[in-house]
Every structure is written in C-alpha cells, then in structure tokens.
C-alpha cells in the first residue's frame, strides 16, 4: 500500500504545472490522445495568463512607441490617470458612481420586471394548452426582434426619460425569461410527476414541489442570458438618449475626443458584466446544487 502511494507520487505531475494547466491530472494524465476529447480540454491557465499579459503588454508597447495617434489609442498610464481623475472628480458634474449606479439601476429594474412577469407567463405556457396557444405566436414574433429596434417607438411613446429605457430592458429580458421558464417546466420527467401524484400530491403541490424546483436550473440559465442581454442593450440605449450612465459617459467623451474615458468606460462595462454573471453563477451553485444531476 505504502509503495503504491510513492509510486503515484513519483509519476504524479508537478503540482505547480497542474495549477497552471500545463500538466494533466487524474485519468487525463494517462490519455494518449486528447484531440477531440472534450473532457480533456479544460483550458490551460498558463496560456490564459500569457494571453492577458501579452494583450496588456501590447497596449503599453504600442502606446510607448506611438504606433498610432494617442487620440485613437491612449496609453495605459494616461487611461489610468483619467480613470483616477474621473473617479475623484466625476465627469461633467456626474460622479463615476452615479454613472455606474444609474446604469445598474436601469438594468436591475428592467431585468427584475422581466423575471417577475416572464417567469410566471413561461410557467403558465408550460402548464396549460390554452395559455400556450395564446402566448406562443406573441412570443415567437417578438423574440427575434432586436430590442434596440423598439427604441424609436418607446421614445415616441414615453419620451427619453427613464421609463422608455426600463421598458426597453424589460423587453430584452422578458422574452428570454418566458422561454427559459417554459422549457424548464416542459423538461420535467413524466415519471417524477406521476410518482408525486401517486404519493398523494395535489396539483398545487406538484407545481411547488416538483415542477418549480425541476425548472430552476433552466430558469437560472435564462437569468444569466437575460442579464447579459440587458446589460448590452442598456449601453446601446444610453448612447442614444440619457443624462447619465456609463454608455452616455463614453458617448459624450467621444465627442470631445477624450479617448481615455471611452477606454476605461468600455473596460468598466466589461468588468461589471463579468461580475454580474459571476454573482449569478455563485447564487446558482448555492441555490441549485443538483443542477445537471437528474
């Protein structure tokens, strides 16, 4: 037994290499071919680090040697300096936090409303033939229309205030949530529902104790997609009409050739997007540990 252990230790890969994703662990270590083997392609962390470092280095170098005009490509240093300045003093009398918060608030309202209305309607569509019949043509028609196409109409109807933006984001999230909830309900295995009936569950109990938890994984995937779509739509919407917000900030900055602000604005939008997705993923792991284990 002890000999066996040293044996595996000897052949086992260097832990640092494993952490960097340059050496394989477990069974994969013994695989002779990995090309085409999805389970063996987990991404090498080393090369991820390299790619980020190279990208940033390239930015430094190209700015240092002025490969392009600094109006088009500001240096990392000046971008950082501008970021720090705006962080301290705001831009055009609006603090960075206010810009971030007004963008986030719109997304949360729109996304929240989309979930609040979309999930029940998706559920209803998965549970009733009549309701599915009623909603199907509406959903199938509106779903493929890019939300941005509604901006002119909403501005016409509601003006350029918060209303039209929130409604737009609601529109972006709503269809995604309807479809996710519907497919979550329809994914329930008949044998689970039948088992529950035989165990004496009422229809309401089947809904709350079987169909709802069964649909949660798909609802969560829908939420992640919807939040992403909302965030993307928002920035575009703010480019067109807004007093504050991240999208508006970079749009205005562009008019004054403040490329640094455009740059860090884009980076900020990306970072916030990644953080929101990460939070949802954490919530998902905590709320639905059974995901994919059915």
């Amino acid at each position: 037994m002890a000999e066996n252990k040293t044996d595996t230790e000897n052949t086992g890969a260097n832990p640092i290499l494993v952490m960097l994703g340059l050496a394989q662990v477990g069974t994969t270590e013994r695989k002779t071919v990995t090309f085409g083997d999805a389970s063996a392609i987990t991404g090498s962390r080393f090369w991820s680090i390299v790619s980020v470092v190279v990208l940033i280095a390239l930015w430094f170098v190209s700015a240092a040697f002025e490969w392009t005009d600094s109006t088009f490509l500001p240096s990392p240093q000046s971008t950082w300096a501008k970021f720090y300045e705006v962080f301290q003093e705001g831009y055009r009398n609006v603090s960075l936090w206010e810009n971030i918060w007004s963008s986030l608030r719109r997304v949360l309202y729109g996304f929240g409303l989309g979930c609040l209305l979309g999930i029940p309607i998706g559920f209803a569509m998965g549970l009733s033939n009549t309701l599915r019949g009623i909603f199907d043509p509406i959903v199938e028609f509106f779903r493929p229309i890019p939300p941005l196409a509604f901006i002119p109409l909403f501005i016409l109807w509601f003006g350029i205030g918060e209303q039209s933006k929130v409604l737009l984001l609601f529109f972006a999230a709503f269809w995604v949530m309807v479809i996710a909830a519907r497919s979550g309900v329809l994914s329930v295995k008949l044998s689970k529902v039948r088992a529950a009936y035989s165990l004496g569950a009422s229809k309401l109990q089947i809904l709350t104790y079987v169909i709802l938890p069964n649909a949660l994984p798909e609802v969560f995937i829908g939420m992640r997609v919807a939040l992403g779509v909302c965030w993307g739509t928002l920035v575009a919407a703010e480019l067109i009409a807004a007093q504050e917000g991240l999208g508006q900030m970079i749009w205005v900055a562009q008019k004054f050739f403040l490329t640094e602000i455009v740059f860090f604005g884009i980076i900020l939008i990306g970072v916030i997007g990644v953080i929101m997705d990460l939070l949802l993923r954490l919530l998902e792991r905590w709320l639905i540990p059974w995901r994919g284990k059915g």
């Binding site: 039948r194 088992a195 035989s198 165990l199 004496g200 069964n214 284990k293």
Partner: protein, 268 residues
C-alpha cells in the same frame, strides 16, 4: 374484496398519422391481496401500459380496472409506483424523498421522521438520510424509491422494470430486498421485468405477455418467491424445478418471437 382486478381491459393508442396501436386487448385477471405478480414479455407487449392503467395514469379504451371493488379512475395513494430510474427528486435529500408522501399529506413532522427512519433502516440505508440522491449508486437509489413508495403505506405497489438498470450482482441483492419487503408488509405487488429468471424468482404469479395486440399469453402459479425467502438463492435458481420452468418459458418466448418474425417476413 381486497382484490386488484382487470375486466376485459383494452387500450388502443391513436397515432398522429391516423393509425392506431392495439397495446392491450381483453386483459382480465383477479389478483388477490398479498400476491406478487410478475409481468414478463418482449418490449411493446403493453406491460407499461397495463401498469399505467392500474396506477390510474391512463384510462383504458375498453374494460375497467378496480381495487377492492372500487373502479380506478385516477392516480391514488392506495397504489404506489416504482419506476426504472430517474423518478427521485434530485433537489431533495434522501430523507425528504422518502418523506415526500407523508409531507404532502400533512403528516406531523415527528411522525414522518419516524416513518422515514424506520424505512431507511428496512431498505438498508440507515444513516444515508441527509445524502443527496445523486450521490448514491443506482441500486441505492432504487432502495430510496422503494422506501418512498412504502412511506405512504399503499395497498398495491406497481413496479415498472425497477431493477432494469442495475448490474447483475446489485440486481440479485435487490430481488432479495423486494421479497423481504413483500413478506414483511404483505403488500400486493405487480412487477414488470425483461428477465425470465427474475420473473420466475419474484413472482408467485407470472403472466407471460405477447404483443400485437398486447395480451396475456400464459399464466403460471409459482412456488419460488415463497421459497426464496428462506432458501439459498443460488441453489434455488439452479434447482431442476427452476431450470425446467425457465426453459419452458424461454421456449414459449422464442415461439412467440418466431411467430412475430415470421409474420413480418424477417430473417434473423
């Protein structure tokens, strides 16, 4: 009358293309309380359909089924169901799965806990209560399914190929458990299987079913289930009586198979 009866049950599935499949034709039987009946037959002979009718999930197109003289018109707690696999609630722990029935019925928590603990011990899963069901092996999951069904104390237990997805060794152990539960609880059990040996060993009654239309081809009264409670299982399954019955049924199934193949003009 505590019998489970079927009177000339027929089931014709209408197909979307306008055709139809006669899944069951004129199926009649009378199963006394406390018997264990196995249904054996090639796939497509209507075994699942029959169980679904008995469970009340499907209404037959002709005939009727009743339990204790009362016609079956829908699912009910007097008939529990065990599926092949994947019918456990993966979002609930083992003990919540087993306690699902009592919970739905508003049985007090303390009482539910006692029922669950007793049943988990009975099926050999004491101490596994707070595990997630997906952490268990296939055999253990079927033990949970059995316990979940028993927690509601049904009169009849319907099992659709409950051991079909298990490996041979686990399967044999589970057969022993089913016999033990049958003996200790006195429940009426109907169990569907593909395996001739399993049908012989577990059934004190056995129907061999045939397809197109689905029907009961032959009936047997068997001694092995009762003997299996005490005898050495391997010895029983290799005894001359057991082997003789096994070969008899196998040749019956082969005959049926050849008839089907012949009628379709197919060659092996």
């Amino acid at each position: 009358m505590q019998n489970l009866t079927a009177n000339n049950v027929g089931m014709i599935y209408k197909l979307p293309n306008g055709g139809s499949v006669e899944a069951l034709k004129d199926v009649s039987f009378d199963l006394e309380r406390g018997r264990i009946l196995t249904l054996l037959g090639p796939s497509g002979c209507g075994k699942t359909t029959l169980l679904n009718i008995l469970a009340g999930f499907l209404a037959p197109t002709s005939g009727s089924v009743s339990l204790s003289g009362k016609e079956i018109r829908g699912p009910g707690q007097d008939r529990g169901m065990v599926f092949q696999q994947g019918a456990l609630f993966e979002w609930l722990s083992v003990e919540k799965n087993v306690g699902f029935g009592p919970n739905m019925n508003g049985v007090p928590v303390a009482q539910t806990k006692k029922i669950v603990d007793d049943l988990l011990a009975t099926v050999g899963l004491a101490g596994f209560g707070d595990k997630a069901v997906y952490e268990l092996s296939g055999g253990m999951q079927q033990r949970v399914a059995l316990a979940r069904c028993l927690a509601n104390d049904p009169e009849v237990i319907l099992m659709d190929e409950p051991l079909g997805a298990l490996d041979a060794l686990t399967r044999e152990k589970m057969q022993g458990l089913i016999l033990k539960l049958w003996n200790e609880t006195g429940k009426t059990i109907i169990l569907v299987t593909h395996s001739v040996e399993e049908a012989l060993f577990l059934g004190d009654r056995l129907f061999v079913m045939a397809p197109r239309p689905g029907r009961i081809e032959r009936e047997y009264e068997l001694p092995f289930a009762k003997m299996g409670l005490t005898a050495n299982v391997r010895e029983l399954k290799t005894s001359p009586e057991f082997i003789e019955k096994r070969e008899e049924i196998l040749s019956l199934i082969w005959e049926m198979e050849e008839e089907i193949m012949g009628s379709r003009g197919e060659v092996l």
